[in-house]
Protein backbone atom coordinates (compact mmCIF):
# COMPACT_ATOMS: atom_id res chain seq x y z
CA UNK A 1 0.00 0.00 0.00
CA UNK A 2 3.05 2.25 0.25
CA UNK A 3 3.59 5.02 -2.31
CA UNK A 4 5.77 4.14 -5.28
CA UNK A 5 9.14 5.95 -5.13
CA UNK A 6 8.46 7.90 -8.32
CA UNK A 7 4.71 8.48 -7.83
CA UNK A 8 3.65 12.16 -7.72
CA UNK A 9 3.22 13.61 -4.25
CA UNK A 10 -0.46 13.60 -3.30
CA UNK A 11 -2.08 17.03 -3.12
CA UNK A 12 -2.60 18.51 0.29
CA UNK A 13 -6.09 18.25 1.77
CA UNK A 14 -7.81 21.48 0.78
CA UNK A 15 -11.24 22.64 1.85
CA UNK A 16 -11.81 24.34 -1.51
CA UNK A 17 -11.51 20.97 -3.28
CA UNK A 18 -14.36 19.65 -1.16
CA UNK A 19 -16.65 22.67 -1.14
CA UNK A 20 -16.20 23.48 -4.83
CA UNK A 21 -16.55 27.26 -4.53
CA UNK A 22 -16.00 27.49 -8.28
CA UNK A 23 -19.62 26.36 -8.59
CA UNK A 24 -20.58 29.82 -7.30
CA UNK A 25 -18.61 31.45 -10.10
CA UNK A 26 -21.49 31.71 -12.55
CA UNK A 27 -22.68 34.95 -14.13
CA UNK A 28 -25.68 36.86 -12.80
CA UNK A 29 -27.15 40.18 -13.91
CA UNK A 30 -25.50 43.32 -12.46
CA UNK A 31 -28.94 44.46 -11.29
CA UNK A 32 -28.79 41.71 -8.64
CA UNK A 33 -26.17 43.65 -6.69
CA UNK A 34 -28.78 46.25 -5.70
CA UNK A 35 -29.96 46.20 -2.09
CA UNK A 36 -33.55 44.99 -2.71
CA UNK A 37 -32.11 41.80 -4.22
CA UNK A 38 -30.76 40.85 -0.79
CA UNK A 39 -34.19 40.82 0.89
CA UNK A 40 -34.78 37.15 0.12
CA UNK A 41 -31.38 36.25 1.59
CA UNK A 42 -32.10 38.36 4.68
CA UNK A 43 -35.41 36.53 5.10
CA UNK A 44 -33.51 33.26 4.91
CA UNK A 45 -30.97 34.53 7.45
CA UNK A 46 -33.76 35.43 9.87
CA UNK A 47 -35.34 32.00 9.39
CA UNK A 48 -31.97 30.34 10.04
CA UNK A 49 -31.54 32.28 13.30
CA UNK A 50 -35.11 31.44 14.36
CA UNK A 51 -34.42 27.78 13.59
CA UNK A 52 -31.18 27.65 15.56
CA UNK A 53 -32.66 29.38 18.61
CA UNK A 54 -35.85 27.32 18.26
CA UNK A 55 -33.88 24.07 18.45
CA UNK A 56 -32.33 25.23 21.72
CA UNK A 57 -35.67 26.42 23.14
CA UNK A 58 -37.33 23.11 22.20
CA UNK A 59 -34.97 21.37 24.65
CA UNK A 60 -36.29 23.52 27.51
CA UNK A 61 -39.95 24.06 26.66
CA UNK A 62 -42.76 21.90 28.04
CA UNK A 63 -45.72 21.83 25.59
CA UNK A 64 -48.25 20.52 28.12
CA UNK A 65 -50.88 23.15 29.03
CA UNK A 66 -49.97 22.91 32.70
CA UNK A 67 -46.23 23.11 32.24
CA UNK A 68 -45.87 25.51 29.29
CA UNK A 69 -45.95 28.80 31.18
CA UNK A 70 -43.67 27.54 33.95
CA UNK A 71 -41.14 26.25 31.45
CA UNK A 72 -41.01 29.65 29.73
CA UNK A 73 -40.36 31.27 33.12
CA UNK A 74 -37.58 28.74 33.59
CA UNK A 75 -36.14 29.57 30.16
CA UNK A 76 -36.12 33.29 30.94
CA UNK A 77 -34.97 33.17 34.54
CA UNK A 78 -32.72 30.16 34.85
CA UNK A 79 -31.66 28.49 31.60
CA UNK A 80 -28.21 29.34 30.28
CA UNK A 81 -28.67 32.01 27.58
CA UNK A 82 -32.37 31.10 27.64
CA UNK A 83 -33.64 34.68 27.81
CA UNK A 84 -31.34 35.74 24.96
CA UNK A 85 -32.28 32.70 22.84
CA UNK A 86 -36.00 33.30 23.36
CA UNK A 87 -35.74 37.02 22.58
CA UNK A 88 -33.58 36.32 19.53
CA UNK A 89 -36.15 33.76 18.37
CA UNK A 90 -38.85 36.42 18.73
CA UNK A 91 -36.99 39.21 16.94
CA UNK A 92 -35.72 36.98 14.13
CA UNK A 93 -39.30 35.81 13.51
CA UNK A 94 -40.43 39.44 13.25
CA UNK A 95 -37.48 40.25 10.96
CA UNK A 96 -38.38 37.30 8.71
CA UNK A 97 -41.97 38.52 8.36
CA UNK A 98 -40.89 42.09 7.61
CA UNK A 99 -38.14 41.05 5.16
CA UNK A 100 -40.42 38.65 3.29
CA UNK A 101 -43.10 41.34 2.91
CA UNK A 102 -40.51 43.76 1.45
CA UNK A 103 -39.16 40.95 -0.76
CA UNK A 104 -42.66 40.18 -2.00
CA UNK A 105 -43.29 43.86 -2.74
CA UNK A 106 -40.04 44.14 -4.72
CA UNK A 107 -40.68 40.97 -6.73
CA UNK A 108 -44.19 42.22 -7.50
CA UNK A 109 -42.86 45.64 -8.53
CA UNK A 110 -40.33 44.02 -10.88
CA UNK A 111 -43.02 41.78 -12.38
CA UNK A 112 -40.82 38.76 -11.65
CA UNK A 113 -43.86 36.53 -11.12
CA UNK A 114 -44.54 36.28 -14.87
CA UNK A 115 -43.95 33.21 -17.01
CA UNK A 116 -41.85 31.17 -16.67
CA UNK A 117 -41.51 32.12 -12.98
CA UNK A 118 -45.06 31.41 -11.77
CA UNK A 119 -43.92 28.44 -9.70
CA UNK A 120 -41.18 30.52 -8.05
CA UNK A 121 -43.85 33.07 -7.04
CA UNK A 122 -46.21 30.39 -5.74
CA UNK A 123 -43.44 28.76 -3.71
CA UNK A 124 -42.68 32.20 -2.24
CA UNK A 125 -46.34 32.86 -1.46
CA UNK A 126 -46.52 29.43 0.19
CA UNK A 127 -43.50 30.31 2.32
CA UNK A 128 -45.14 33.60 3.33
CA UNK A 129 -48.21 31.64 4.48
CA UNK A 130 -45.97 29.18 6.31
CA UNK A 131 -44.11 32.00 8.06
CA UNK A 132 -47.35 33.61 9.22
CA UNK A 133 -48.62 30.26 10.47
CA UNK A 134 -45.31 29.63 12.24
CA UNK A 135 -45.50 33.07 13.84
CA UNK A 136 -49.07 32.49 14.95
CA UNK A 137 -48.41 29.05 16.43
CA UNK A 138 -45.36 30.49 18.19
CA UNK A 139 -47.38 33.20 19.92
CA UNK A 140 -49.70 30.60 21.49
CA UNK A 141 -46.91 28.49 23.01
CA UNK A 142 -46.10 30.48 26.21
CA UNK A 143 -49.72 29.85 27.27
CA UNK A 144 -49.85 33.28 28.86
CA UNK A 145 -52.88 35.54 28.50
CA UNK A 146 -51.87 36.65 24.99
CA UNK A 147 -51.11 33.10 23.87
CA UNK A 148 -54.30 31.75 25.34
CA UNK A 149 -56.38 34.39 23.59
CA UNK A 150 -54.58 33.67 20.30
CA UNK A 151 -55.49 30.01 20.75
CA UNK A 152 -59.09 30.97 21.53
CA UNK A 153 -59.21 33.03 18.31
CA UNK A 154 -57.81 30.05 16.41
CA UNK A 155 -60.53 27.87 17.93
CA UNK A 156 -63.29 30.32 17.04
CA UNK A 157 -62.04 30.68 13.46
CA UNK A 158 -61.70 26.90 13.12
CA UNK A 159 -65.20 26.38 14.53
CA UNK A 160 -66.59 28.80 11.97
CA UNK A 161 -65.20 26.55 9.22
CA UNK A 162 -67.26 23.60 10.47
CA UNK A 163 -65.87 20.17 9.58
CA UNK A 164 -62.96 21.77 7.69
CA UNK A 165 -61.67 23.37 10.87
CA UNK A 166 -61.91 20.36 13.17
CA UNK A 167 -58.19 19.66 12.90
CA UNK A 168 -57.43 22.95 14.65
CA UNK A 169 -59.82 22.33 17.55
CA UNK A 170 -59.89 20.21 20.69
CA UNK A 171 -62.48 17.98 19.05
CA UNK A 172 -59.92 16.43 16.71
CA UNK A 173 -58.69 14.06 19.41
CA UNK A 174 -59.09 13.67 23.17
CA UNK A 175 -55.64 12.07 23.44
CA UNK A 176 -53.52 15.21 23.07
CA UNK A 177 -54.16 18.80 24.17
CA UNK A 178 -54.48 21.39 21.42
CA UNK A 179 -51.44 23.31 22.70
CA UNK A 180 -49.25 20.21 22.33
CA UNK A 181 -50.54 19.63 18.80
CA UNK A 182 -49.94 23.28 17.89
CA UNK A 183 -46.40 22.92 19.24
CA UNK A 184 -45.91 19.79 17.12
CA UNK A 185 -46.99 21.74 14.04
CA UNK A 186 -44.67 24.60 15.00
CA UNK A 187 -41.57 22.42 15.27
CA UNK A 188 -42.19 19.68 12.70
CA UNK A 189 -44.78 19.96 9.93
CA UNK A 190 -44.53 23.70 9.27
CA UNK A 191 -40.71 23.85 9.18
CA UNK A 192 -40.69 20.83 6.84
CA UNK A 193 -43.16 22.45 4.46
CA UNK A 194 -41.16 25.68 4.65
CA UNK A 195 -37.95 23.80 3.87
CA UNK A 196 -39.52 22.00 0.88
CA UNK A 197 -40.87 25.27 -0.54
CA UNK A 198 -37.54 26.98 0.10
CA UNK A 199 -35.70 24.23 -1.77
CA UNK A 200 -38.06 24.57 -4.71
CA UNK A 201 -37.79 28.39 -4.63
CA UNK A 202 -33.97 28.37 -4.63
CA UNK A 203 -33.76 25.63 -7.25
CA UNK A 204 -36.04 27.57 -9.59
CA UNK A 205 -34.07 30.79 -9.08
CA UNK A 206 -30.87 28.91 -10.00
CA UNK A 207 -32.51 27.16 -12.94
CA UNK A 208 -34.42 30.11 -14.39
CA UNK A 209 -31.91 32.77 -13.38
CA UNK A 210 -32.57 36.17 -11.85
CA UNK A 211 -35.27 38.05 -13.69
CA UNK A 212 -34.19 41.00 -15.80
CA UNK A 213 -36.35 43.43 -17.69
CA UNK A 214 -36.03 43.98 -21.42
CA UNK A 215 -32.82 45.88 -22.13
CA UNK A 216 -31.11 45.04 -18.83
CA UNK A 217 -27.88 43.02 -19.15
CA UNK A 218 -28.20 39.39 -18.02
CA UNK A 219 -24.51 39.05 -17.17
CA UNK A 220 -21.88 41.28 -15.65
CA UNK A 221 -21.15 40.02 -12.16
CA UNK A 222 -20.79 36.63 -10.52
CA UNK A 223 -22.88 34.89 -7.92
CA UNK A 224 -19.74 34.51 -5.79
CA UNK A 225 -19.51 38.29 -5.46
CA UNK A 226 -23.21 38.40 -4.61
CA UNK A 227 -22.78 35.53 -2.13
CA UNK A 228 -20.01 37.32 -0.22
CA UNK A 229 -22.17 40.42 0.02
CA UNK A 230 -25.08 38.26 1.23
CA UNK A 231 -22.74 36.93 3.94
CA UNK A 232 -21.87 40.48 4.99
CA UNK A 233 -25.49 41.63 5.20
CA UNK A 234 -26.49 38.39 6.97
CA UNK A 235 -23.78 38.90 9.60
CA UNK A 236 -24.84 42.51 10.17
CA UNK A 237 -28.49 41.51 10.42
CA UNK A 238 -27.61 38.80 12.93
CA UNK A 239 -25.55 41.31 14.95
CA UNK A 240 -28.48 43.74 14.98
CA UNK A 241 -30.91 41.05 16.06
CA UNK A 242 -28.66 39.83 18.90
CA UNK A 243 -28.28 43.41 20.13
CA UNK A 244 -32.03 43.97 19.87
CA UNK A 245 -32.76 40.72 21.72
CA UNK A 246 -30.45 41.79 24.52
CA UNK A 247 -31.67 45.38 24.82
CA UNK A 248 -35.41 44.73 24.20
CA UNK A 249 -36.07 41.20 25.49
CA UNK A 250 -39.34 39.42 24.76
CA UNK A 251 -41.83 39.78 27.58
CA UNK A 252 -44.12 37.17 29.07
CA UNK A 253 -47.70 37.69 30.12
CA UNK A 254 -49.31 36.38 33.26
CA UNK A 255 -50.80 32.90 33.28
CA UNK A 256 -53.98 32.82 31.25
CA UNK A 257 -57.35 33.49 32.83
CA UNK A 258 -60.10 31.95 30.79
CA UNK A 259 -63.20 33.88 29.83
CA UNK A 260 -61.43 37.24 29.45
CA UNK A 261 -60.12 39.00 26.35
CA UNK A 262 -57.72 41.71 27.40
CA UNK A 263 -54.68 41.51 25.10
CA UNK A 264 -53.86 42.45 21.53
CA UNK A 265 -51.69 40.25 19.32
CA UNK A 266 -48.13 41.11 18.24
CA UNK A 267 -47.53 43.68 15.49
CA UNK A 268 -47.69 41.33 12.46
CA UNK A 269 -51.24 40.31 13.40
CA UNK A 270 -52.70 43.66 14.44
CA UNK A 271 -54.20 44.25 10.97
CA UNK A 272 -56.30 41.13 11.51
CA UNK A 273 -57.66 42.57 14.77
CA UNK A 274 -58.89 45.63 12.88
CA UNK A 275 -60.77 43.34 10.50
CA UNK A 276 -62.20 41.46 13.48
CA UNK A 277 -63.25 44.73 15.09
CA UNK A 278 -65.10 45.71 11.94
CA UNK A 279 -66.46 42.41 10.63
CA UNK A 280 -66.44 40.03 13.58
CA UNK A 281 -64.34 36.99 14.30
CA UNK A 282 -65.94 34.98 11.50
CA UNK A 283 -64.12 37.23 9.01
CA UNK A 284 -60.81 35.74 10.17
CA UNK A 285 -61.51 32.48 8.39
CA UNK A 286 -62.46 34.30 5.19
CA UNK A 287 -60.32 37.44 4.81
CA UNK A 288 -56.93 35.91 5.67
CA UNK A 289 -57.26 32.99 3.21
CA UNK A 290 -58.57 35.47 0.60
CA UNK A 291 -55.40 37.55 0.87
CA UNK A 292 -53.30 34.47 0.15
CA UNK A 293 -55.56 33.35 -2.68
CA UNK A 294 -55.18 36.82 -4.21
CA UNK A 295 -51.40 36.43 -4.03
CA UNK A 296 -51.59 33.05 -5.72
CA UNK A 297 -53.71 34.48 -8.51
CA UNK A 298 -51.24 37.24 -9.41
CA UNK A 299 -49.33 35.30 -12.13
CA UNK A 300 -52.61 34.07 -13.60
CA UNK A 301 -54.12 37.55 -13.80
CA UNK A 302 -51.08 39.27 -15.31
CA UNK A 303 -50.03 36.91 -18.10
CA UNK A 304 -48.29 39.42 -20.37
CA UNK A 305 -44.83 38.41 -21.47
CA UNK A 306 -43.51 41.97 -21.83
CA UNK A 307 -43.56 44.79 -19.35
CA UNK A 308 -44.92 48.29 -20.01
CA UNK A 309 -44.62 51.62 -18.25
CA UNK A 310 -48.37 51.55 -17.62
CA UNK A 311 -48.20 48.10 -16.07
CA UNK A 312 -45.29 49.19 -13.87
CA UNK A 313 -47.19 52.26 -12.68
CA UNK A 314 -50.21 50.10 -11.87
CA UNK A 315 -48.06 47.78 -9.79
CA UNK A 316 -46.53 50.72 -7.90
CA UNK A 317 -50.04 51.96 -7.12
CA UNK A 318 -51.11 48.48 -5.95
CA UNK A 319 -48.02 48.13 -3.71
CA UNK A 320 -48.59 51.58 -2.21
CA UNK A 321 -52.25 50.75 -1.69
CA UNK A 322 -51.43 47.40 -0.07
CA UNK A 323 -48.93 48.91 2.37
CA UNK A 324 -51.26 51.83 3.14
CA UNK A 325 -54.12 49.46 3.98
CA UNK A 326 -51.83 47.24 6.04
CA UNK A 327 -50.39 50.15 8.03
CA UNK A 328 -53.80 51.84 8.42
CA UNK A 329 -55.38 48.64 9.75
CA UNK A 330 -52.44 48.06 12.10
CA UNK A 331 -52.60 51.59 13.50
CA UNK A 332 -56.41 51.42 13.80
CA UNK A 333 -56.19 48.17 15.78
CA UNK A 334 -53.40 49.56 17.93
CA UNK A 335 -55.38 52.69 18.84
CA UNK A 336 -58.78 51.00 19.17
CA UNK A 337 -60.03 50.15 22.66
CA UNK A 338 -60.00 46.48 23.56
CA UNK A 339 -63.01 44.68 22.12
CA UNK A 340 -64.50 41.29 22.93
CA UNK A 341 -64.62 39.11 19.83
CA UNK A 342 -64.99 35.69 21.32
CA UNK A 343 -68.01 36.00 23.57
CA UNK A 344 -66.03 34.02 26.16
Amino acid sequence: MGAMPNSPKPRAWRLRDRLAPAALEYEIPPVATRLPYFLGALTLTSIAIATATGIYLSQLYDPSPIGAHGSVIYIVERALLGDLARSLHWWSAQAAILAVLFHLSWVFYRGSYRAPRELTWWAGAGMLGCLFFLFFTGTTLPNDQEGFEALAHNLAAAESLGALGVFMTDRFTPSAPLLARIYALHVSALPLVLLALLGLHLYLIRYLGIHTRDGEPTQGTTFRRHFLRIGAYAAWLAAGLVALAFVVPRGLGHPAVQGMEVTKPPLPFLWIVAIENGLGIGALAVVVPLVFVALLLVPLVDRRRTDSVRGRRLRVILIALGWTVLIALTVAAWLAPQQQHLGM
Binding site: M1, G2, R16, P21, A22, E25, P65, I66, G67, H69, G70, I73, Y74, V76, E77, R78, A79, L80, L81, G82, D83, L84, N143, D144, Q145, E146, T222, R224, R225, L228, R229, G231, A232, Y233, A234, A235, W236, A238, A239, V242, A243, A245, F246, P249, G251, L252, G253, H254, P255, A256, V257, G259, M260, E261, V262, T263, K264, Q338
Partner: protein, 178 residues
Protein backbone atom coordinates in the same frame (compact mmCIF):
# COMPACT_ATOMS: atom_id res chain seq x y z
CA UNK B 1 -1.20 4.27 5.59
CA UNK B 2 0.16 3.76 9.12
CA UNK B 3 -0.03 7.51 9.67
CA UNK B 4 -3.67 7.56 8.65
CA UNK B 5 -4.46 4.70 11.04
CA UNK B 6 -2.67 6.55 13.83
CA UNK B 7 -4.67 9.68 13.12
CA UNK B 8 -7.92 7.73 13.17
CA UNK B 9 -6.94 6.06 16.47
CA UNK B 10 -6.09 9.47 17.99
CA UNK B 11 -9.38 11.03 16.82
CA UNK B 12 -11.41 8.06 18.07
CA UNK B 13 -9.54 8.15 21.39
CA UNK B 14 -10.29 11.83 21.86
CA UNK B 15 -13.94 11.23 20.93
CA UNK B 16 -14.17 8.34 23.41
CA UNK B 17 -12.62 10.42 26.19
CA UNK B 18 -14.98 13.29 25.40
CA UNK B 19 -17.89 10.84 25.50
CA UNK B 20 -16.82 9.44 28.88
CA UNK B 21 -16.39 12.89 30.42
CA UNK B 22 -19.60 14.11 28.78
CA UNK B 23 -21.54 11.17 30.16
CA UNK B 24 -20.11 11.73 33.64
CA UNK B 25 -20.98 15.41 33.47
CA UNK B 26 -24.49 14.61 32.25
CA UNK B 27 -24.87 12.04 35.00
CA UNK B 28 -24.61 14.82 37.56
CA UNK B 29 -27.85 16.41 36.33
CA UNK B 30 -30.31 13.98 37.88
CA UNK B 31 -32.43 16.16 40.13
CA UNK B 32 -35.61 14.46 41.31
CA UNK B 33 -38.35 15.22 43.80
CA UNK B 34 -40.93 12.93 45.39
CA UNK B 35 -44.25 13.95 46.84
CA UNK B 36 -45.94 12.43 49.86
CA UNK B 37 -49.19 12.32 47.85
CA UNK B 38 -50.13 12.76 44.21
CA UNK B 39 -53.47 14.40 45.09
CA UNK B 40 -54.27 16.76 47.97
CA UNK B 41 -56.94 19.26 48.96
CA UNK B 42 -56.18 22.96 49.00
CA UNK B 43 -55.02 23.85 52.51
CA UNK B 44 -53.46 20.41 53.10
CA UNK B 45 -49.82 19.89 53.94
CA UNK B 46 -47.61 17.89 51.63
CA UNK B 47 -44.30 16.16 52.26
CA UNK B 48 -41.68 16.81 49.61
CA UNK B 49 -38.29 15.12 49.38
CA UNK B 50 -35.69 15.58 46.70
CA UNK B 51 -32.07 15.11 45.69
CA UNK B 52 -29.58 16.21 43.10
CA UNK B 53 -30.40 19.90 43.47
CA UNK B 54 -26.93 21.03 44.44
CA UNK B 55 -24.81 20.62 47.57
CA UNK B 56 -26.06 22.97 50.31
CA UNK B 57 -27.93 24.84 47.62
CA UNK B 58 -30.78 27.17 48.36
CA UNK B 59 -33.79 25.26 47.08
CA UNK B 60 -37.04 26.95 46.12
CA UNK B 61 -40.30 25.04 45.97
CA UNK B 62 -43.18 26.42 43.92
CA UNK B 63 -46.64 25.35 42.86
CA UNK B 64 -47.28 25.96 39.16
CA UNK B 65 -50.54 25.69 37.33
CA UNK B 66 -52.81 27.36 34.85
CA UNK B 67 -53.67 30.01 37.44
CA UNK B 68 -50.04 30.93 38.01
CA UNK B 69 -47.02 30.22 40.11
CA UNK B 70 -46.93 30.34 43.89
CA UNK B 71 -43.68 30.04 45.81
CA UNK B 72 -44.22 27.63 48.71
CA UNK B 73 -40.92 28.27 50.44
CA UNK B 74 -37.15 28.10 50.26
CA UNK B 75 -35.01 25.47 51.96
CA UNK B 76 -31.38 24.57 52.41
CA UNK B 77 -30.15 21.37 50.78
CA UNK B 78 -27.77 19.14 52.77
CA UNK B 79 -24.19 18.17 52.01
CA UNK B 80 -25.44 15.51 49.57
CA UNK B 81 -27.83 17.81 47.75
CA UNK B 82 -30.88 16.27 49.41
CA UNK B 83 -33.74 17.95 51.18
CA UNK B 84 -36.89 16.93 53.00
CA UNK B 85 -39.65 19.30 53.99
CA UNK B 86 -43.36 19.77 54.42
CA UNK B 87 -45.20 22.55 52.62
CA UNK B 88 -48.78 23.76 52.82
CA UNK B 89 -50.79 24.02 49.60
CA UNK B 90 -52.48 27.44 49.95
CA UNK B 91 -56.17 27.14 50.88
CA UNK B 92 -57.14 29.56 48.11
CA UNK B 93 -55.61 27.35 45.39
CA UNK B 94 -58.29 26.62 42.76
CA UNK B 95 -58.89 22.95 42.07
CA UNK B 96 -56.95 21.60 39.11
CA UNK B 97 -53.81 19.97 37.81
CA UNK B 98 -50.56 21.51 39.07
CA UNK B 99 -46.93 20.66 39.39
CA UNK B 100 -44.54 21.08 42.25
CA UNK B 101 -41.32 22.62 41.03
CA UNK B 102 -38.05 22.49 42.94
CA UNK B 103 -35.19 24.70 41.80
CA UNK B 104 -31.73 24.73 43.32
CA UNK B 105 -28.27 25.44 41.99
CA UNK B 106 -28.67 25.05 38.25
CA UNK B 107 -31.10 22.18 38.59
CA UNK B 108 -34.84 21.90 38.34
CA UNK B 109 -37.16 19.00 39.12
CA UNK B 110 -40.92 18.75 38.84
CA UNK B 111 -43.67 16.40 39.91
CA UNK B 112 -47.37 16.55 39.00
CA UNK B 113 -49.96 17.19 41.70
CA UNK B 114 -53.74 17.21 41.63
CA UNK B 115 -55.37 19.74 43.93
CA UNK B 116 -59.02 19.49 44.87
CA UNK B 117 -61.09 22.30 46.41
CA UNK B 118 -60.46 23.20 50.05
CA UNK B 119 -62.44 21.04 52.41
CA UNK B 120 -64.54 22.58 55.26
CA UNK B 121 -63.87 25.97 56.71
CA UNK B 122 -60.78 27.15 54.79
CA UNK B 123 -61.69 29.99 52.50
CA UNK B 124 -60.03 32.45 50.22
CA UNK B 125 -59.98 35.98 51.50
CA UNK B 126 -63.10 37.81 50.43
CA UNK B 127 -64.77 34.84 48.83
CA UNK B 128 -67.34 32.34 50.12
CA UNK B 129 -66.23 29.02 51.59
CA UNK B 130 -64.94 26.59 48.98
CA UNK B 131 -65.18 29.14 46.19
CA UNK B 132 -61.75 30.49 45.36
CA UNK B 133 -61.49 34.10 44.30
CA UNK B 134 -61.20 34.27 40.51
CA UNK B 135 -57.94 35.85 39.34
CA UNK B 136 -58.16 38.91 37.14
CA UNK B 137 -56.96 38.67 33.56
CA UNK B 138 -54.36 41.26 32.62
CA UNK B 139 -52.54 42.30 29.49
CA UNK B 140 -49.54 43.39 31.56
CA UNK B 141 -46.31 41.47 31.36
CA UNK B 142 -44.81 39.60 34.30
CA UNK B 143 -41.89 41.03 36.18
CA UNK B 144 -39.21 38.49 35.45
CA UNK B 145 -35.87 38.07 37.10
CA UNK B 146 -34.09 37.72 33.78
CA UNK B 147 -30.94 35.67 33.78
CA UNK B 148 -28.25 38.16 32.78
CA UNK B 149 -24.92 37.10 34.21
CA UNK B 150 -21.73 38.93 33.28
CA UNK B 151 -20.66 35.92 31.23
CA UNK B 152 -23.92 35.90 29.28
CA UNK B 153 -23.73 39.63 28.63
CA UNK B 154 -20.16 39.13 27.47
CA UNK B 155 -21.22 36.32 25.13
CA UNK B 156 -24.04 38.44 23.68
CA UNK B 157 -21.95 41.54 23.04
CA UNK B 158 -18.98 39.45 21.93
CA UNK B 159 -21.24 37.81 19.37
CA UNK B 160 -22.47 41.22 18.19
CA UNK B 161 -18.91 42.49 17.79
CA UNK B 162 -17.75 39.33 16.02
CA UNK B 163 -20.65 39.41 13.59
CA UNK B 164 -20.03 43.08 12.77
CA UNK B 165 -16.35 42.35 12.08
CA UNK B 166 -17.15 39.23 10.03
CA UNK B 167 -19.66 41.28 8.02
CA UNK B 168 -17.10 44.00 7.37
CA UNK B 169 -14.48 41.40 6.39
CA UNK B 170 -16.88 39.74 3.93
CA UNK B 171 -17.93 43.08 2.47
CA UNK B 172 -14.29 44.07 1.86
CA UNK B 173 -13.20 40.64 0.65
CA UNK B 174 -11.65 40.69 -2.84
CA UNK B 175 -14.06 39.06 -5.22
CA UNK B 176 -11.56 37.80 -7.75
CA UNK B 177 -12.30 34.35 -9.18
CA UNK B 178 -10.89 31.47 -7.11
Amino acid sequence: MLGTVKRIVVVLGIAALAGVFGARAAGGHGAVIRLGAQAVSAGDSLAVTGEGLGVRAKIMLALEGAAGRKVLGTFQGDAHGRFETVVVIPAETPAGAYRIVAEGGDERATEDLLVSAAVGGERAQGSPAGVPEAPEATAEEMRLDRRRSTAESGIAWGLVGTLVIVGAWLARRPTRPS
